[in-house]
Amino acid sequence: MRKKARHLWRTFWYFCQEAWLGLLRNGMMSVAAVLTGMVALLILGSSLLLQANLAYLADIVESQVEIVAYLRDGTDARERTSLLRRVERIPHVREVRFVSKEVALARLQESFKNRVVLRDLLDTNPLPDSLEITVHDPARIPEVVQEVRRVPGVEEVTYGRQVIDRLLALTRTVRFTSALGVALFAGVAMVIIVNTIHLTILARRQEIEIMKLVGATNWFIRWPFLLEGLLEGFLAAIPVIAFLSLAYIVGVYRLATVIPFLPLLEPPAILPRVALVLVTTGAGMGIGGSLISLHRFFHPKEPRARDPLGRPRRKPIHPLGRLRVR
């Protein structure tokens, strides 16, 4: 049992060495594959981060959707009470809260923490009194808004729907354009990987032929190439993950100081997921490329039996040199 394990380990180690040699042998081509893969993963990663944050933002905004009715200046306490009653009686309304102009200012001040002291800047309080109205079902908001508008003493009514719609549209745009970019670069990266592996296979054609002749199994022959592709995928993913993580951590910190009330996902909540997706995609690109290349090599297309002029022709040597031994 121990012997078996040692044997497996030795074999695996042999595969890894072969893969690494293949990578080095192709030099510039491997670098090109890895670089292009990096561009693809960079686009994928940044777009994932952006999307996740936009979705998070939309979620928060949606959960907080409420109607705000700004009251005419100088409404007194009694008017206010009757107003509140009237609004409460509107169908679908769940709760109505009164927010005085002082409370509104205090809230604004709070959102700036202590970086800006509003009282120093403002002589008078420019904010109006308002009502915050929540509904049972967000779909009913437009109706309720219609009703609230008709209540005397209400100057203006706003609600968050537009903001959400715009956020969702933005998320869609980001997702679409980035998907395009990812597909493009991932495609190019795969093509390059396919051809890198192909060059490795060509370089070892003689060896492979002999391996097949002396009875090596197909998987024994394939493993080093699969590992080579995998390695290229990883080599593309790792620096991208490192870079994006750093950039996101720094970015979140900076943004939080500049736009304090912007809700952003905490790095530990999102980075591991993105890293996983990037590693998986990188590995997928690499292995996919290898598999395509191996398939093309081990199962070359049967050439047409006739040449362009319709004359029969010899089964040609595959342009990239297929093995005669199957």
């Binding site: 003689q206 002999i210 002396v214 090596a216």
Partner: protein
């Protein structure tokens, strides 16, 4: 035991390489396959180690119908058949020893058995003293011996050689054929294709002559060409 039962091979381009070949080679035999170029000699050998499958007919190696072999089984078939080529097919960056050991490594042989088995194979071809030479440091005949050692390292019951002396001078050719005969005397079935009239005529072994894909002669103790 190698048996061909009504084997025909038509290549995708329409070339009829073999037509209704019946052949029975017993264990321990030594057989020459002769015939003009394009007669189908190489095609016949390739059927045995499943490099090609017949269009019609069956090919048995031992009791196994190799035309029905699932492709996962092919490597194990090949470990029971040693193949020697005209152009040696040695890896130029490996020593004679490494070239032979390579065949064991890539079939996943247990590491600790490898030295003993390589040593034995090189001893059979009489090349133990050149084990550490690279191919370019060996003469053509010596290189062919290395490739025979590699074919023998799995101790296969069958050894196939496709024009093993095509690139060698007469003296060296003779030496190689003597070696194959010696291996045959130890019990290995040996099948050799050749154009070398002198050698066939000297050895007087069984001769199978192909012509246009058909067996036109199958003679014990035969000559390169039909007598008379």
């Amino acid at each position: 035991m190698i048996v061909f039962q009504g084997v025909s091979k038509i290549y995708p381009n329409g070339v009829k390489a073999l037509q209704g070949v019946n052949l029975h080679i017993s264990p321990g035999e030594f057989v020459f396959i002769v015939g003009p170029t394009g007669a189908g000699k190489s095609t016949l050998l390739r059927m045995i180690y499943r490099d090609e499958v017949p269009t019609r007919g069956k090919v048995f190696v031992g009791s196994q119908d190799v035309t029905r072999l699932p492709s996962r089984q092919i490597p194990y078939l090949r470990r029971r058949i040693g193949v020697v080529f005209q152009d040696f097919k040695l890896l130029p960056h490996k020593t004679a020893w490494e070239n032979v050991a390579f065949a064991l490594h890539v079939t996943g042989a247990p590491e600790e058995e490898i030295p003993r088995r390589v040593g034995r194979a090189l001893a059979v071809v009489g090349l133990l003293d050149k084990a550490l030479s690279f191919p370019h440091q060996l003469s053509g005949g010596e290189q062919q011996r290395v490739s025979i050692a590699r074919a023998l390292v799995h101790e296969p019951p069958i050894l196939l050689a496709d024009e093993p002396t095509g690139n060698l001078d007469p003296a060296t050719s003779w030496e190689i054929i003597q070696l194959l005969a010696a291996i045959n005397r130890r019990g290995t079935t040996v099948v050799v294709t050749t154009h070398n009239k002198i050698i066939v005529d000297m050895l007087r072994k069984r001769v199978v002559e192909l012509s246009e894909g058909m067996v036109v002669r199958d003679q014990q103790h035969g000559l390169y060409a039909q007598e008379g």
